[in-house]
């Protein structure tokens, strides 16, 4: 019998029944590995369902810090007989299967190592409460894993203590459940598993958190005082993160009143309307949504663009089109966001690649929205937003000042002869604005989505309207100079082949680039972080004869944006596309690149 043998480098997949409490146990397993000093990337692969359907949880453990999804499962914790078939199929030869052997079964594969533990029987014997009997099977298998990987069991006991702080009654049974699995494995599985976890220090300076958690915190740090939202997977936890952090960090001392407003709107139309209203009145406000919400918000996004009202929108993308795959990931809202709304509209997009950048870009989004007086859309995705990532610690520079943009105070207005809301005084396409209620007889204007002149007055004069539209293009040019620059894999381009990618693809791309390097294939890579594209982006495209554009959508939407915005000839832009709802893998990207370069069609992974 072959046995997979590795240290600090494997993929484990948990198969559970949705609603059985497995997610928190699985998360605890991942955190225990993280605390052992090894980077992990847990991914929750869940159904759009509350209870009963199969759900999976995949954890990649990798000491080198490769956090992208990797195909092939080394260990399967199969706790759902409904999905045994698929779970066994995915398991690599020499892999390990842990299952509940209260009901023994032959899995029909001779090349895998089956570790059966009668979890149901053990839990029935140890616990009398039926709910506990079910729930504690989860911690039972965490105990098994701690034993077979040779981990320090105390790490999990500490985690249990932390998780149930304030509910001390729950600590003892949880520790007991962990111990049941651990002891059974110590006794029955000794030396059966050659996959080990050895303590390391590769998580120093890292935290384990999700993009949505980070973005919500970023909004608190970025000075947002207003959030209106409508529940939609996978963005809900972003709004909730903002609310949770605000409850802790934004209470007025003495009165215990809220230095923030958090409103669950009746729909996405109201959510964006409220956000625009708050920003119009000088508060920093945002909304969080996903693709269907963007579709609904589009009319209002056009208003904010044309009336030049700042607003921050988070689009945590999921599988489309239509309702699509609400619990799977994609990067397929690029075009919908870049040109959201009817008429000539173009919007600023920020595209973070990890939770740390979600935090930073949240702060940045408010500065840019205020500076540019326009909607700024932060494009995250389900993989980045909802899964925990091993990411750099959050950091804040206390000397940083918010950029509230061109806002006239009462004193400014006092000294002015005339105020024109849409006058391009500085030549950068960005006019000056006033908040309502600033000055008794100066600075009032009428915000409108109808055609208007420099003084915000309604006009049906076509030339005047064209002037406003042209100025908005100038502002768009200014935006390209202010948005975050792309990140390059090397200081100077040295290859004729370039790779363009963005967002959550980053983790897999780092691995691809290392693999290509090992194969002595020299490529330049550029990670786009924003739209509109700046000069550096165009130079990179100019400098390469062949460019792979890696995207998690069907239509090559970033490629379309590049062609449309830069007039780039399509021939040299080769799409690498993954749109099955699973995060893209390094192997997939590398295969596609190699296949293209060798002229052989890539095998579909």
């Amino acid at each position: 019998m072959t046995k997979i043998s590795s240290v600090n480098d494997f993929v484990i997949k948990f198969a559970n029944v949705n609603g059985s409490g497995s997610a928190s146990a699985n998360q605890m397993f991942a955190k225990g590995v993280f605390r052992s000093g090894i980077p992990v990337s847990p991914k929750n692969i869940f159904p759009s369902n509350i209870q009963g359907l199969p759900t999976w949880f995949e954890v990649r453990v990798n000491e080198k810090g490769y956090l992208g999804r990797r195909e092939g499962i080394d260990i399967s914790v199969a706790m759902n007989p409904q999905s045994y078939g698929d779970d066994i199929k995915e398991l690599k030869s020499g892999g390990y299967l842990i299952y509940d052997s209260s009901w023994k079964r032959d899995f029909g594969r001779k090349d895998i190592n089956v570790l059966g533990i009668p979890l149901t029987e053990l839990c029935v014997n140890e616990f009398s409460n039926p709910k506990q009997r079910l729930l504690f099977k989860n911690l039972g298998y965490v105990g098994v894993l701690a034993s077979i990987f040779g981990m320090d069991k105390d790490i999990y006991i500490d985690l249990i203590n932390e998780q149930f702080k304030g509910k001390e009654k729950l600590i003892e049974p949880n520790v007991k459940a962990l111990g049941i699995g651990y002891s059974y494995a110590e006794k029955n599985f000794k030396n059966l598993c050659d996959i080990k976890i050895n303590k390391s220090n590769k998580t120093d300076g890292l935290i384990l958190t999700s993009g949505n958690d980070a973005a919500g915190l970023g909004c608190v740090y970025g000075g947002a005082t207003f959030c209106a939202w409508y529940p939609i997977t996978p963005s809900t936890s972003l709004a909730e993160s903002y609310s949770d952090y605000s409850e802790k960090l934004r209470k007025e001392i003495g009165t215990d009143k809220n230095k923030f407003a958090f409103i669950q709107a009746e729909d996405e139309l109201a959510a964006i309307g409220m956000t625009i209203g708050a920003n119009w009145n000088g508060a920093r406000g945002f909304t969080a949504t996903s693709g269907p919400g963007i579709s609904l918000m589009s009319e209002f996004i056009g208003l904010a663009y044309f009336a030049e009202v700042p607003s921050v929108i988070f689009d945590v993308q999921r599988g489309g089109p239509s309702t699509g795959m609400p619990t799977r990931t994609q990067q397929s809202d690029l075009l919908a966001c870049a040109y959201a709304s009817h008429g000539d509209t173009k919007h600023v997009l920020l595209i973070p690649s990890d939770p740390k950048e979600c935090f930073d870009f949240s702060v940045k989004a408010f500065d840019l929205a205020d500076r540019l007086q326009t909607p700024v859309i932060v494009l995250s995705d389900l993989d980045l937003g909802m899964n925990d990532w091993s990411t750099k610690e959050f950091d804040w520079d206390d000397s940083k000042k918010y950029d509230r943009g061109k806002v006239l105070s009462k004193e400014d207005l006092e000294g002015m002869e005339k105020f024109g809301r849409y006058l391009d005084v500085d030549g950068d396409g960005i006019p000056y604005r006033t908040y309502p209620g600033t000055h008794p007889d100066k600075g009032a204007y009428f915000t409108r989505g109808t055609s208007h002149d420099e003084y915000a007055r309604y006009t049906e004069n076509g030339e005047k309207n064209a002037e406003v539209l042209s100025r908005l293009l100038k502002k768009y040019q200014t935006a390209s100079e202010l948005v975050p620059s792309p990140i390059f894999n090397q200081d100077k381009s040295t290859s004729s082949i370039g790779i363009i990618y963005f967002g959550s693809t980053d983790c897999s791309m780092q691995e691809t680039l290392d693999q290509l390097d090992e194969e002595s294939l020299n490529v330049d890579a550029m990670r786009l972080r924003a739209f509109p594209f700046n000069l550096e982006v165009w130079e990179f495209i100019e400098d390469h004869d062949l460019l792979f554009i890696v995207e998690q959508n069907r239509d090559g939407q970033m490629r379309t944006l590049i062609m449309a915005e830069g007039g780039i000839i399509p021939d040299k832009l080769v799409s690498i596309l993954c749109f099955d709802g699973q995060p893209i893998t390094a192997a997939y990207i590398k295969n596609k690149i190699n296949a293209h370069l060798s002229g052989v069609p890539a095998k579909i992974a």
């Binding site: 409103i263 109201a270 956000t275 209620g437 915000t447």
Partner: protein, 351 residues
């Protein structure tokens, strides 16, 4: 010409208010609505109410959606910021704006299409959330700008100008608003300035969601003799509940009525809305009576006007959400940003 600025020619002896301002100081641009449009009378009543209450125009925000009614904010209070948003979505703009700065006075101007059809969801939730604003429905039962289609407040028995039957019953906004928890609900008629001005003053002084459903005939598309929203029809069928009189804070109520004939509604800012009862014994603080009266008068083919319902003690959204007294838009970075020190604990909790 798409925007007409009014010339500023003040008569030297124009009456001034406490701020030393004249009515002219509360005006807006020249109206581009049809001559005789009820909406212009409402604008005039708003100007009168603001003048009489000595409101600082720059502390008012005028918000609207789309339609004839939604153009109206341009025609009063030149010194106020205005926001002509998208169709049916004024309530959400108002909600965000009012949460950003609760110290301003929010006037939402909407119509029956803007409120009862495309915007009914936002209207409902705005009322339900008790947003502190005065919501005007300039109700003419018709779509004017698109040339006279029925709106959802048009009565079943009403016919269009072109003789078409209205197939569906009217939505009664005051009944809905009361049921939803609005704390000040009145109906009036654009042609009844004596009733309208005190009601506007009362609504603006009230804390919480105030609905003013104002029948405002459309002279072009819905003023014919088979319409139930025409000037003639409303004058004939108007059943005023009371003759309201707004009594500002500190001003003595001149009791010219016999005991039992008037009722007073104390408003949040200390002023009073005094109601001389014209109809039956009516307690405007009782929800159930209010809805019953509206429904009965409808059954009898009458249009009940006046203050229909008020709850002067209702909480508003700012209180419900427990928001600071200092407006959110005035909080400084120092008050908002937890800074580097707080991040340490957050980072540690994520390890």
């Amino acid at each position: 010409m798409t925007y007409i600025i009014k010339p500023i020619n003040h008569h030297p002896r124009l009456e001034t208010n406490k701020l030393g301002l004249t009515r002219r100081d509360y005006e807006g641009a020249v109206s581009t609505l049809c001559a005789g449009c009820g909406h212009d009378s409402i604008s005039a009543a708003i100007i009168e109410a603001c003048f009489e209450l000595s409101i600082e125009a720059y502390r008012v925000a005028k918000l609207s959606g789309i339609g004839c009614s939604s153009k109206a904010p341009a025609y009063f209070l030149n010194q106020s910021h205005g926001f002509n948003s998208v169709h049916g979505r004024m309530p959400s703009i108002a909600t965000g704006a009012a949460m950003a700065n609760h110290e301003l006075l929010y006037l939402g101007i909407s119509g029956d299409g803007d409120t009862a059809s495309i915007g009914i969801g936002q209207f409902i939730h705005c009322a339900r959330r008790q947003l502190n604003m005065t919501y005007f429905v300039e109700n003419n039962g018709t779509y004017g700008l698109t040339k006279g289609q029925f709106s959802a407040t048009n009565d079943l028995e009403s016919k269009s100008k072109y003789g078409d039957d209205n197939l569906f019953p009217a939505i009664d906004l005051p009944t809905m608003a009361i049921q939803l928890g609005a704390s000040f609900v009145a109906r009036s008629f654009s042609g009844d300035r004596d009733q309208l001005v005190p009601l506007i003053k009362g609504a603006m002084s009230h804390k919480g969601f105030s609905l003013l459903d104002i029948i405002s005939p459309c002279v072009t598309f819905n003023n014919h003799n088979t319409s139930t929203k025409s000037y003639d029809y409303i004058r004939e069928h108007n059943e005023a509940l009371s003759k309201p009189d707004f009594v500002p804070l500190g001003k003595e109520i001149i009791a010219s009525y016999e005991p039992g004939e008037s009722a007073e509604v104390a408003l949040h800012d200390g002023s009073t809305l005094s109601l001389t009862k014209l109809a039956q014994d009516y307690d405007p603080t009782d929800k159930i009576t209010a809805i019953k009266n509206i429904q009965e008068s409808q059954r009898d083919g009458k249009v009940l006007t006046g203050l229909l319902y008020a709850n002067p003690n209702a909480k508003d959204l700012k209180e419900i959400l427990n928001i600071t007294d200092q407006p959110l838009n005035a909080l400084t970075q120092e008050q908002l940003c937890p800074g580097k020190s707080a991040l340490k604990e957050i980072n540690d909790n994520l390890k």
